[in-house]
């Protein structure tokens, strides 16, 4: 059983990075669930939030910078609702999707214009040196990154909070109603604009959390915007409409790609990590297009 130590370490590391994917996927799910819009700009929002935070914290106390960044993300949600979504009410989903691609480019450019385009260090005061667990069980112990643990705890808290939010509050019920049918929701007096503002603000805050976790790990830089691409297979696996699905999908992808690298990698020369998630997503699409936890769509023909 001397092999178990490294395997466990790879597995845990995979789970932790899976949590980071899940944080990004969560933003997609929130917006899709409540407005039926596939928000391609979620990655750009992660970058924008992280950039805002890192630059603001240069001349403000960290707590104040966080609050100010939250305010910025809410303002952004308001602007998106006002300038993009409202004029497009009732348009086909594809048109809204295209609009969010536009938002992506705008945010990427705008963010780097006002905040700069260097790589910025984000320091949350979490020790960078890894922890070694179970040193008496395995030779050398199991290496765990404190940042990953921090991200996992935050993600867990977010999921619990969001689940309560969606399932036991009036606003949550209204959100689910809007996601199902815009017109019917309006007919019972749910104001669409307010709901969208709430959802996009929440997604903005989730983007901030994701940005903090990823930014601490990789530094705050343009490539944060591209982690949205890593969230896509997570969404396909977990289902676009399920909050727990985003988390479990993230864990499966994270652990799966690391284990695949560990076991199959040496046989075919490595590099599996980079495509494993997409192949897994493709396989899921063939068998269960709605994902593991998504709602099955049955249409009357």
């Amino acid at each position: 059983m001397a092999e178990l130590g490294p395997v466990l370490e790879v597995f845990l590391g995979g789970l932790m990075s899976g949590v980071l994917y899940a944080l990004v996927a969560l933003g997609f799910v929130l917006i899709f669930k409540a407005s039926g819009v596939f928000n391609f700009a979620q990655g750009a929002m992660v970058l924008f939030a992280a950039l805002s935070l890192v630059r603001l914290s240069e001349w403000l106390p960290f707590g104040v910078a966080v609050l100010l960044t939250i305010a910025i993300m809410i303002a952004l949600a308001w602007a998106v609702e006002r300038l993009v979504l409202r004029p497009l009410v009732g348009q086909h989903g594809l048109i809204l999707f295209m609009a969010t691609i536009g938002v992506t480019f705008f945010l990427d450019g705008f963010g780097q214009t006002i905040w700069g385009s260097n790589v910025y260090q984000l320091d949350l005061g979490i020790p960078a040196s890894p922890w070694f667990l179970f040193e008496n069980l395995f030779p050398g112990g199991i290496l765990v990154s404190p940042i990953d643990v921090f991200a996992a705890v935050i993600a867990g808290t977010l999921v619990v909070a969001l689940s309560i939010f969606f399932h036991s509050t009036k606003i949550g019920r209204a959100l689910r109603a809007v996601a199902d049918d815009h017109q019917a929701a309006q007919s019972v007096g749910i104001p669409l604009n307010q709901i969208w503002l709430i959802v996009w603000s929440t997604a903005g805050i989730v983007a901030l959390v994701a940005g903090m976790a990823w930014g601490t790990k990789l530094g705050v830089q343009f490539s944060l915007s591209l982690i949205a691409l890593k969230a896509l297979p997570v969404l396909i696996l977990g289902g676009l409409t399920s909050i727990p699905g985003a988390i479990i999908g993230g864990l499966i992808i994270g652990a799966g790609e690391k284990l695949a690298e560990f076991y199959i990698g040496p046989l075919i020369g490595g590099g599996i990590e980079y495509w494993f998630a997409y192949v897994l997503a493709l396989a899921v699409l063939l068998v269960r297009p709605q994902g593991l936890f998504g709602e099955k769509i049955i249409e009357r023909v």
């Binding site: 509050t169 009036k170 689910r176 017109q183 019917a184 929701a185 007919s187 019972v188 749910i190």
Partner: protein
């Protein structure tokens, strides 16, 4: 009523006396409404009113503008011309939120339920405007968050009971048969305790038994709660049987307006229905 309906003459006469007593002042009036989509005229200069407590039918061939009219009344469509007078107040434009807040509820021609949610949750959305608890009270299940949810839940339970759908309260509505979905949609509208209930083809696609049930529910709602009802319906025997007054639209214009008796004998209506086919 010399119609092909099941209502015996004496009962019908008694009913009309009772109806006359129940029907009150004008609740809603549409005045000179014109609605265009690009070059297509959906409604042209249509005026009529709906009185408190009555059952008002809107009929007409396909494409006559009936659904457009309902959409104008609850604010989904903004007419280019005309105005709506709701409870004595003239409005240049009605918004869906204001309509709901003001007491107008509706159902849809193609059922518009929240398919992923249970019957109970669907109907609870009808109570959203009645709930005042703050976000934190709801999330933490304290104070008004708890008392309100319980109170509204009890209210919804009475509606479930009234419409005889208590047995499906926890079933996701997407899994229900068509007739029951229609009934849940009515329940959601009733949960809003509306003053004016707009029903867009409440009996379309139903079998005879389901139609009779739906008819009975509409009459019960109207008589027990005094809810004003405006409904679009194609089944003429239903329309003639339950409505107090009928508006006939054709090609977006008002063709006739009067009691079922008057409308049925109107030559223009007879021609629209029997003379020419609009496809």
């Amino acid at each position: 009523m010399a119609t092909a309906t099941v209502t015996p003459p004496r009962e019908a006469a008694e009913r009309s006396v009772r109806r006359a007593r129940q029907i009150g002042e004008v609740l809603l009036a549409v005045e000179n409404i014109s609605l265009r989509f690009g070059g297509v005229r959906a409604l042209s200069n249509v005026s009529f009113d709906i009185r408190r407590g009555e059952i008002r039918a809107i009929i007409g061939p396909n494409g006559a503008g009936k659904s457009s009219m309902l959409n104008v009344i609850n604010g989904f469509y903004q007419p280019q011309e005309g105005r709506i007078i709701w409870k004595g107040r003239a409005l240049s434009r009605m918004r869906p939120y204001d309509a709901a807040k003001g007491g107008i509820a509706r159902t849809f021609q193609n059922i518009a339920l929240f398919k992923g949610m249970s019957t109970l949750d669907n109907i609870m959305t009808g109570r959203i405007l009645k709930m005042r608890a703050s976000f934190f009270e709801q999330a933490l299940w304290i104070g008004r968050g708890k008392s309100e949810e319980l109170r509204e839940r009890a209210f919804v339970e009475r509606i479930l009971d009234f419409l005889e759908i208590t047995h499906i309260r926890h079933v996701p509505v997407g899994k229900l048969p068509y007739g029951l979905q229609k009934r849940v949609e009515l329940a959601r509208a009733l949960a809003m305790e509306p003053e004016l209930l707009l029903l867009d083809e409440p009996m379309a696609g139903m079998n005879l038994e389901e139609k009779e049930d739906m008819c009975r529910f509409i009459l019960d709602v109207n008589e027990e709660f005094g809810t004003t009802v405006a409904l679009i319906e194609h089944d003429m025997s239903v329309v003639m049987d339950i409505s107090d007054r009928v508006v006939v639209l054709d090609y977006g214009r008002l063709l006739a307006d009067g009691t079922p008796e008057e409308v049925r004998n109107d030559p223009a209506v007879i021609e629209a229905y029997l003379g020419v086919s609009h496809g």
